[in-house]
């Protein structure tokens, strides 16, 4: 049995990788776009919450629709395990 799997990488990949990885500390120190716009985002969030609450008050029967993919990505990025999903499926059967 081979002691190596023959993977390859694009030409010049490792030079490029080292440059990118070395640049991370400088990027991390700079305020991100999100940080720069935080005050504006907070204002927009307040407005969105106000609209949402207003909407809920005006239309109590309305339910926000999430696509299957959105739900899957939400669950994938939570800490849920396969065992917990199986448990949920069994309970809901």
């Amino acid at each position: 049995m081979s002691k190596k799997i023959e993977y390859k990488v694009p030409d010049g990949y490792f030079e490029n990788l080292k440059t990118r990885l070395s640049a991370i500390p400088a990027q991390e120190k700079q305020p991100s776009r999100i940080q720069k716009f935080t005050p504006y985002l907070a204002l927009a969030a307040c407005f969105a919450v106000a609209v949402l609450v207003g909407n809920l008050v005006l239309n109590r029967t309305a339910t926000p629709a999430a696509s299957d993919e959105e739900i899957i990505e939400y669950l994938v990025n939570s800490d849920i395990t396969l065992a917990q999903i199986v448990d949920c499926l069994i309970v809901n059967e």
């Binding site: 049995m1 023959e6 490792f14 080292k18 991370i24 849920i80």
Partner: protein, 158 residues
């Protein structure tokens, strides 16, 4: 650190996740965490062990998400792993190598990590133990099981 370890660490992660693009993303995420944690690094472990621990945890987290995603879509994880290897433009092996890669990809994530570190990277059990936080005895048992599964899997296709 980047100069000394990035290439070796890339091959470690690539062995765990197979795909070049996924390995690249995981490595980027690993070094973001490394730079953040560097001021608190006390030197209890060697730099290499510390880096391997962060990268391995990132790769295992990626594999966990992949597994959950496949389950929620009612897809077969093994079929998905085989597809990744078959469609990978950066795979350069022959049929025997392809079978080996698929057999490794079919192992449970933690077992795959142990197998890759021991078999391909020839890392001593003591170091794998520092990386994974698992006892040497448990690692030996896990490696033995993985090697048996791979042997059966590769021979089945012959």
């Amino acid at each position: 650190m980047v100069e000394q370890y990035s290439e070796q660490l890339y091959w470690h992660v690539r062995g765990l996740v197979s795909s070049h693009e996924d390995a690249d993303d995981i490595l980027q995420e690993t070094f973001v965490k490394v730079w953040k944690a560097l001021p608190g690094f006390r030197g209890d472990a060697s730099v290499q062990t510390w880096l391997w621990r962060i990268a391995t945890n990132e790769a295992l987290s990626f594999l966990r998400k992949q597994k959950v995603r496949a389950a929620l879509r009612f897809e077969s994880l093994d079929a998905e792993a085989e597809r990744v290897i078959d469609d990978d433009p950066w795979f350069d092996g022959d049929d025997a190598q392809r079978r080996l890669a698929k057999a490794v990809a079919s192992l449970p994530a933690k077992q795959r990590a142990v197998f890759c570190m021991r078999y391909f990277e020839e890392m001593p059990y003591e170091q794998i133990s520092s990386v994974t936080g698992t006892s040497v005895g448990a690692l030996k048992a896990s490696y033995h099981q993985a090697a048996e599964k791979i042997k059966v899997s590769v021979e089945e296709e012959d």
